[in-house]
């Protein structure tokens, strides 16, 4: 077993992880404390899921826009379940982070005069979303990855699968990772660790996420006692391709695309988002530019009313871009055209794109304080895996890419500061914990136990989550999902893998991922069941629970791991120091109001 020492270990090579690594390196230089930083990722960094983000990244940019407006949009978008101090910090640091990306060479789309271009995005009052065609995440990730190559103090461990954190007396002391190429364990001793492992969309059957988005980091922190916060809030994106779930970006609607039901009717005007905006003149917060939760819910209603079309097995509505004209579509949305043509054989220039909602984003995650530190000393979290309190009950599109930068950097800097004042723990402590991991791996591969396949468990899990924790939820469906997940967790204890080889054993990895997934699925179901109100992405059909209940539930849910026993839920107060909860309204209904 190999052991290496680093000041800082960063787990995850997506946008958040890379930004944290660069942030830490810069901070160390500033402090004049030479530090070694390890960046671990289970895939090559540029394969991370940030690469798939299409639409853009938000920051107050134009002179007419204000921080207050971005703050208000984010707070009301999150249905007041956000940490307002955090949002305030976020909106004030967003612009400088995007400028920093520009200075690192990100190819932002431009206006004629050479300035950076912004586009409209759902739930945002003003056009403030920076974009690089419809491959924003791709360009940001590659820019960050390439920039990270400038820093010799960052040592990458590509295709190292982190199995566990090593924690001693309430402080993190390192991580234990499996080198995928050899199947050997590696111990990394660290003074500070940053988790940046991304979301958990793969808990659901139908989703826009990459195969690697399995919530590993959330589960690792959770198993060591950190609370998972607001896990019941899972965002459905209204426009996924039928079949695969591949995302058709919100930018389509920002650029003027419209949603039609099977009768060619713009049904959103019936759901409090009207009146209908003229073709080709999208207006912020109206119609197609309403927030994602509302749009996904409207789809569900149309589906119930039998007004959706069919594509293969899927019920669909239609996203129509044709009126934008070929030139404009190809300039602004080239990737969308490529995706629609390849995967469903539809040319958006000529035909409306059939779409349906798909699970997209995990609002909740590893609970951190406003400085990204968790309840374990020296353990930080940033990006989609974290719940720093920015998104509340519903994330606004294009806030998350900016989040990776703002909080990735913050987490990196914090980690660097801590590492400068901390000593490594005794390496025997690490070895002891690594032995446990070694044993757990050996057990998975020993060929004993039940003959059950982890594949069946996985299918059962994603099925249960989809039917229990979908766009609309009922007490009964959630209870059933929770029961199923708990049974699956018990069954998982007897699971063995077929493939017992060492080199690049992807079956083993998928099986471990499933174990993580089941743990956080329980947290997600439990939070959902206990939240007896409707808020943001969490919408109940139960009698009397279809509205927001600020008296009892203006609270974060916190779920704690209890080993093989049932997880435990607690409630935590929300920081509402700047803006008192108000009704969340869009379309004309919002006129005059503050929302």
């Amino acid at each position: 077993m190999q052991q290496r020492d680093f000041d800082i270990v960063i787990v995850g090579g997506g946008g958040a992880g890379l930004r944290a690594a660069i942030g830490a390196a810069e901070q160390a230089r500033e402090q004049n404390t030479p530090q070694r930083i390890a960046l671990l990722s289970k895939v090559y960094p540029m394969r991370s899921h940030t690469v798939a983000a299409e639409g853009g990244a938000a920051a107050v940019t134009s002179a007419e826009d204000t921080h207050q407006a971005h703050f208000d949009d984010t707070v009301s978008g999150g249905d007041w379940l956000v940490e307002q101090g955090v949002v305030d910090y976020f909106v004030h640091h967003a612009y400088q982070e995007l400028v920093q990306m520009e200075r690192w060479g990100c190819p932002w789309s431009r206006k004629e005069d050479g300035q950076v271009q912004v586009r409209r995005f759902g739930g945002m009052k003003t056009a403030r979303t920076w974009f690089a065609a419809d491959k924003t995440g791709f360009h940001m990730l590659h820019t960050l990855f390439q920039t990270s190559l400038k820093y010799p103090e960052i040592e990458r461990f590509d295709e190292y699968f982190v199995l566990d954190l090593a924690v001693h007396e309430g402080a993190v002391i390192g991580v234990i990772a499996l080198q995928v190429a050899t199947g050997e364990l590696t111990l990394l001793r660290a003074k500070a660790v940053v988790m940046a492992t991304g979301g958990a969309g793969r808990l659901f059957r139908f989703n826009t996420n990459a195969g690697i988005v399995t919530g590993d980091g959330m589960a690792m922190a959770y198993r060591h006692g950190v609370a998972l916060r607001d896990m019941e809030f899972v965002q459905y994106h209204p426009t996924g391709l039928p079949g695969s779930g591949i995302l058709i970006t919100e930018a389509c609607r920002g650029e003027g695309g419209i949603l039609l039901n099977k009768d060619g009717y713009r049904y959103l005007q019936d759901y409090g988002l009207g009146p209908e905006t003229p073709l080709g003149k999208p207006e912020n917060k109206y119609m197609e530019l309403g927030p994602r939760d509302k749009l996904s819910q409207a789809f569900w209603q149309e589906q119930q009313a039998g007004r959706t079309g069919k594509f293969g097995d899927s019920d669909v509505v239609y996203l129509d871009l044709r009126h934008l004209g070929e030139t404009y579509i190809l300039e602004r949305l080239p990737f969308i055209c490529e995706l629609a043509k390849s995967y469903i054989n539809v040319d958006p220039v000529k035909e409306p794109i059939p779409i349906r909602p798909a699970v997209h984003y995990t609002m909740g995650g590893i609970e951190t304080d406003p400085q990204c530190e968790t309840s374990i000393a020296g353990l930080y979290a940033a990006g989609e895996c974290a719940s720093v309190g920015l998104h509340g009950a519903n994330r606004l599109g294009s806030n998350s890419l900016t989040e990776l930068l703002v909080f990735g950097r913050l987490a990196g800097e914090q980690a660097s500061q801590r590492a400068a004042q901390t000593e490594w723990a005794d390496s025997r402590l690490l070895e002891a914990q690594a032995d446990l991991q070694q044993a757990a791996l050996a057990r998975l591969c020993d060929g004993e136990g039940s003959s059950e396949s982890w594949v069946d468990l996985k299918h059962a899990m994603v099925q249960a989550m989809e039917s229990g924790c979908g766009i609309y939820r009922t007490e009964e469906s959630m209870q059933q999902a929770l029961n199923t997940i708990r049974q699956l967790r018990a069954r998982f204890n007897n699971i063995r893998v077929n493939d017992t080889s060492k080199v690049f054993n992807t079956e083993l990895l998928e099986c471990i991922e499933l174990g993580y997934g089941l743990d956080i699925a329980e947290a997600s179901c439990l939070g959902a069941l206990e939240r007896r109100e409707s808020r943001g992405a969490h919408q109940r059909l139960d009698e009397g629970l279809q509205v927001r209940d600020d008296v009892n539930y203006l609270k974060h849910s916190q779920v704690f791991y209890r080993g093989d026993a049932h997880a435990e839920l607690r409630w935590q107060d929300v920081d509402t120091r700047f803006s008192a909860p108000a009704e969340r309204v869009y379309g004309d209904a919002a006129k005059g109001g503050k929302a």
Binding site: L149, P152, R156
Partner: protein, 133 residues
């Protein structure tokens, strides 16, 4: 694996700078243009129509041919129809040998470009000799 490694050190890279390659590539490209634009006509007239007797009898009589060739335009013609195409050919042959894993590149380079230079000099020399005659 895939630990960030410092790339090839500056010093190392400098030592291996390919100062000659731009020259060969430039000659190759120029030769390629000649081969594509001029040679079809040259070959057609001189190597096909002429021996087949399809040109007017006097078109390339001894006198006319010497007059045309042993002149300044003739010199330019040889540059474009012999020298540059030779370097073009030498470049492709050198790389072709590498593609087929024949010989070793350092030697192939010397032989190929050397021959091209030699034959070019010969051709140009002949024009000059003709002009002096």
């Amino acid at each position: 694996m895939n630990v960030n490694k410092p790339s090839v050190s500056q010093h190392d890279a400098h030592r291996r700078q390919a100062y000659d390659e731009p020259l060969w590539w430039g000659l190759f490209s120029a030769g390629g243009v000649c081969f594509a634009v001029i040679m079809p006509a040259v070959i057609l007239f001189i190597a096909v129509l002429l021996p087949l007797g399809l040109l007017p009898a006097e078109a390339l009589s001894y006198e006319r041919a010497s007059g045309l060739l042993f002149s300044i335009p003739g010199l330019l013609f040889i540059g474009a129809a012999v020298c540059l195409p030779l370097f073009h050919a030498a470049h492709r042959l050198r790389h072709g040998l590498f593609d087929l894993s024949l010989g070793n590149d350092t030697l192939n380079k010397k032989v190929m470009y050397g021959l091209a230079a030699l034959l070019s000099l010969l051709a140009l020399g002949m024009v000059v000799a003709g002009m002096l005659n």
